[in-house]
């Protein structure tokens, strides 16, 4: 079963939201038009990402209902091997919407045993936007786009391995 958001995380989230609201109030007092435009943009953004939020809600539900820690261990856990890297890599490339909308699902999978390196790989490969590739080719050329995508994929794996090593190395001293 997935991990519910603990009270501590909820409290931190509320503090973060409170700080952002304070920034808005401050901006409103100094430059009203900036605060109003920012709020209008944020509402538009929320409206735009609403379908993604619904998709993520469904995925978290599926994760809670169907995905058991054993499945996570086999497919994206410590012993998942090449399959784990591929799942994280392809999952990251195919995932849509803003990155922050995926944190809850990744947290859930992390609690079930997903490797830190694979979470990093998933997040990094979100940088490769398949639907936007034709536009990138239009602006920068096909060869450039291909080389960049290959390097980004390669560095996502290097980054995942490095991050896991860094976090593992520092953990015992905490």
């Amino acid at each position: 079963m997935g991990e519910e958001i603990p009270k501590k995380v909820m409290n931190k989230g509320c503090i973060f939201l409170f700080i952002v609201i304070c920034l808005y109030v401050l901006t409103l007092l100094i430059k009203t038009d900036i605060a109003v435009n920012a709020l209008a943009f944020s509402i538009k953004l929320l409206y735009q990402i609403f379908p993604v939020l619904l998709l993520i809600f469904v995925l978290i539900f599926v994760s809670n209902f169907l995905v058991k820690p054993d499945w996570v261990r086999v497919n994206v856990g410590k012993g998942s091997g090449v399959r784990g890297w591929l799942v994280a890599l392809v999952g990251g490339i195919l995932s849509v919407g803003p990155i922050y909308a995926w944190y809850a699902l990744l947290r859930d999978l992390q609690a079930k045993g997903m490797r830190t390196a694979l979470i990093a790989v998933f997040l990094y490969n979100r940088g490769i936007k398949l639907p936007l590739l034709p536009l990138m080719i239009h602006y920068f050329g096909g060869i450039y786009t291909l080389i960049l995508a290959v390097y980004m994929t390669l560095f996502s794996v290097i980054g995942g391995i490095l991050l896991e090593k860094i976090l593992e190395r520092k953990e015992p001293s905490q």
Binding site: M1, L17, L45, L46, Y103, I119, Y124, G127, L163
Partner: protein, 149 residues
């Protein structure tokens, strides 16, 4: 020892729904905070004037490109348009590539949310690595392009 009775499908369905709703409600303040912060940063950041910041040398420009990409939170399409504009103004491809890569991989605005949800050290080191990688990838991409002619 007390034996735990296995859950029936309907019990599992109800508990999964409850858990999902609880997770989602817990995530809402973070999500709203990031969305509001994104709107504010985009309004404050003078994206149309960034070309003035470049033009020192390739390394410095790459650092500026990577930094600018890191603090930006708009749609990746904006980075393509901005990158294309910078290229026509004579800014190096290395700097523009660093901007493009860091734009989609480093999340300064999302950092508080990432730190709360996935751990502060995870978020800190991941974003730091992504920042360094954006410059490395930029140099490697442009070098490879030059080698290929």
């Amino acid at each position: 020892m007390r034996k735990i009775k296995p859950k029936t499908q309907s019990e599992l369905l109800i508990s999964s729904t409850k858990k999902t709703v609880s997770m989602f409600v817990g995530m809402l303040p973070i999500l709203l905070g990031v969305i509001l912060l994104t709107g504010l940063i985009l309004e404050i950041l003078p994206v149309d004037k960034v070309s003035d910041w470049f033009g020192q040398n390739i390394l410095f420009d790459s650092l500026i490109g990577a930094t600018l990409g890191s603090i930006s939170a708009g749609h990746p399409l904006t980075s393509y348009v901005l990158g294309g504009e910078l290229l026509t103004q004579g800014i190096s491809l290395v700097a523009v590539t660093a901007l493009l890569v860091s734009w989609v991989t480093v999340g300064s605005i999302q950092f508080p949310a990432e730190a709360i949800m996935l751990g502060r050290r995870f978020a800190l080191y991941r974003n730091l690595l992504c920042f360094i990688f954006s410059i490395l990838i930029a140099v490697l991409t442009v070098t490879t392009m030059q080698l290929l002619g």
